[in-house]
Amino acid sequence: MQLHHYLLFSALLFAVGLAGALTRRNAILVLIGVELMLNAANLNFIAFWRFLPEAPAMHGLLFVLFTIAVAAAEAAVGLALIIAIYRHYRSTQVDDLRSLHG
Amino acid sequence: MLGEGIIKGMAETARNFLGSYHDAARLTTVEFPEDKIPAKESARNFPFLVHDGEDAMQGLRCVACQICEKECPPKCIFIIKDTNKKPDYVGKLQFQPKVFDIDVSVCMSCQICVEVCPFDAIKMDTDFELGGSDRFGGLLLNKRRLAKPNSYYHTIHPTEAAEVDGRLAAEKAKVEAKAKADAEAKAKAAAAAAAAKAAAQTTPPVVASTPAAVVTPAK
């Protein structure tokens, strides 16, 4: 297995997440798409850590751990926001939020 | 302090756990099919028919008067009168049931049939092991399955049975005494055939008064 296999796979995963985040209209699904993109980036870190001899000993691993923590926080806050928005507008569709639309 | 109650409770359950192994008083379970608690005298569940003597069908006290059938709230009793009569305990000829069925799956054990029976013919049983594999026929008890001897009645409800027996014996004695008196009177008036006929007609009122005499003490 070569490095670029992992990189291509992670780019594909990123594209899938991006497509979902752009096309789906439900805020939760948009959040799921963002999570997928974050995870695709994580896979890149691990792959680089594993394949590049010049990379620092544990940089990739630790960065992944930090990303996981940040992503968890992001998910918690994002979902709390979605719930708060739902309470207010009775909807989780992104298109329905147009108060600032002018 | 938090947890104190839990510790006390755990000690209590531990006492139960260990106690049940050596303290017979704690372990009150009776293992049913092998061991049984003898039925209490006041126990009742479904009705049965009392018969006197050895032959169940001949000795049935029931006279097919159908009062119980009419009174039964869930209508679980079904009676067909037989045309043949047979003598009752005082020797008088009475009707007898050709069919007497009780559907115990319908019976609600209210004991009203027992209360209304003028002949002390139907009583409450204590037998509860009626389970079977036939849901319809198995729980529809016919005359033969319902008939149980008076001695059985004595074993399950001794006090009540003794009272009933005493009453029936008194009744019989009264009727016999009356019959004797009548016979004497008949002998005295043997000369007059018209008087003898009149004496024979006095019997029905005696029989008619029996139900009231029976029902009142049964309450």
Binding site: Q2, R25, F51, L62 | -
Partner: protein
């Protein structure tokens, strides 16, 4: 080496596609969990044990549950069906995604990284080593992450609190 990679990537990719395209939101969340578990398996296959287990613990154990809870709280139980985007925006979104992938793929394939980098034997970094690194060289990021998580917890609680309390709910019990 080839077969596990093929299986894992196929599984992850299919479940990611399902997560982004299924109609039922709960199914989407379950597929997301499967994708994340597949990624964790890929981490393990690459020898990053701690990261793989942390991924399962955090994503499958917490984030997926959080998503599922949010779906149930916002969609009144069974009507979790998500409406699809209008066709025009769907085409635009997919087009952008394909374009991004094309650019990324071209960059990857033309860069020097693509040409024969065998796997580096980094041994198996023990949890102890990771901990030492976290407590020495990376102690500042660790503290920042701790602060961030605390802030996120507080923020999530405050955002999700009911907007205003009714007087009945605030009244003390008798």
């Amino acid at each position: 080496m080839e077969i596990p990679f093929a299986i894992l990537t196929a599984l992850t990719l299919v479940s990611a596609l399902a997560a982004m395209s299924l109609r039922n939101l709960v199914h989407c969340a379950l597929c997301l969990a499967l994708t994340l578990a597949g990624l964790a398996a890929l981490y393990l296959q690459l020898g990053a044990q701690f990261a793989g287990f942390a991924q399962i613990l955090v994503y499958v154990g917490a984030v997926a549950i959080l998503v599922v809870f949010a779906i149930l709280l916002t969609n009144r139980g069974d009507q979790a069906a998500a409406t699809r985007a209008p066709a025009r925006s769907w085409v635009t979104g997919a087009g952008i995604a394909v374009a991004v992938f094309a650019v990324l793929a071209r960059v990857i394939l033309t860069s020097s990284l693509a040409t024969g980098h065998p796997m580096v034997d980094r041994g198996s970094p023990t949890v102890k080593d990771l901990g030492m690194q976290l407590m020495t060289q990376y102690v500042l990021p660790l503290e920042v992450i701790g602060l961030l998580l605390t802030a996120a917890t507080l923020g999530a609680v405050i955002i999700a609190l009911p907007e205003k309390k009714t007087p009945a709910a605030a009244a003390p019990n008798h």
